[in-house]
Amino acid sequence: MLSELVYPGWQATVDGAPAPILPADLIFRSIALSPGRHEVSFVFRPIVVPAGAAITLITISVGDCSHRHPGRVRKAVRVRPAWRLALIAWLLAAFALRVHWLDTRELNGDEAFGYFFALRPCPGIVQATLSLREPHPVASYFVQKAWSGIAGDSEFALRFASVW
C-alpha cells in the first residue's frame, strides 16, 4: 500500500507489466504482489493532458492560419463564419473537457483543507495562516470564501473557481 491518494490517471506496473491499482482503506493506492522481489512503478498519465494539449495546439494552429497574410500590411482580418463557429465549438469542447467529472470525486487532501480553512471568518483566516505558518497566501482563501458564499459548497462549485 502506498500512502498516496487514489486518483484517476495513475498507472502501475509490476516488473514492467501493467498492474491494477486497488483503492486500499478507501483512499490509498495499493497493488497486489506475489512473494519475491519486484520492480514497481507508479506513473501519472492522465488522459486529459494529451487531450488538452491537442486542443491547444489545434486552436493555436487554426488561429495562426486565420491571421496569416504574407506580403501584406496587416489590416483587419476577416475570419470566415465557419472558422469562427469551429473555433467557438473547439473552445467550448475544451471547456467541457475541463469541467467534465469535476464533481465525481469527493474533496480530498488540500482541497478539503482549503475548504475548512475558508469556513473561518476573515480575521480567523489571517490568524490561522500566521499561527499555522500556512504557505498559501490568504487571498486564495478569501476568494474561496466569497465564491462558496455565492455558488455554494458542492464539489463542483468549490472546484469551479479553480477552472478559470
Binding site: 500500500m1 486500499a24 504482489l33 512473494p35 522481489r37 520492480e39 506513473v43
Partner: protein, 64 residues
C-alpha cells in the same frame, strides 16, 4: 507492506472496519474486492527500497 487484505465493497461498512479496535492498520488493508489468491494470505513483512520519486513517477523495489 500489508500482509492481509479484507474485502468490503460497502463504503460505510469499510469505514466501520477501519475504525474497529481489532483492525491493525499496519498489517491489514480494506479493499472493495480482493484479487484472487491474496485474501487468505497473512504474510506481513518485506522491504521497500525507493529508486526514484517525483510528482509524476514513483519507482521502488519491493521484496515480500
Amino acid at each position: 507492506m500489508a500482509g492481509r487484505a479484507v474485502a468490503e465493497p460497502d463504503r460505510e461498512r469499510a469505514l466501520e472496519r477501519l475504525a474497529a479496535p481489532d483492525f491493525d492498520v499496519a498489517r491489514q488493508i480494506v479493499l472493495p474486492a480482493v484479487p484472487p489468491g491474496f485474501g487468505d494470505v497473512d504474510a506481513c513483512g518485506g522491504e521497500i527500497a525507493w529508486r526514484s520519486r517525483s510528482p509524476e513517477q514513483l519507482d521502488l523495489m519491493a521484496t515480500t
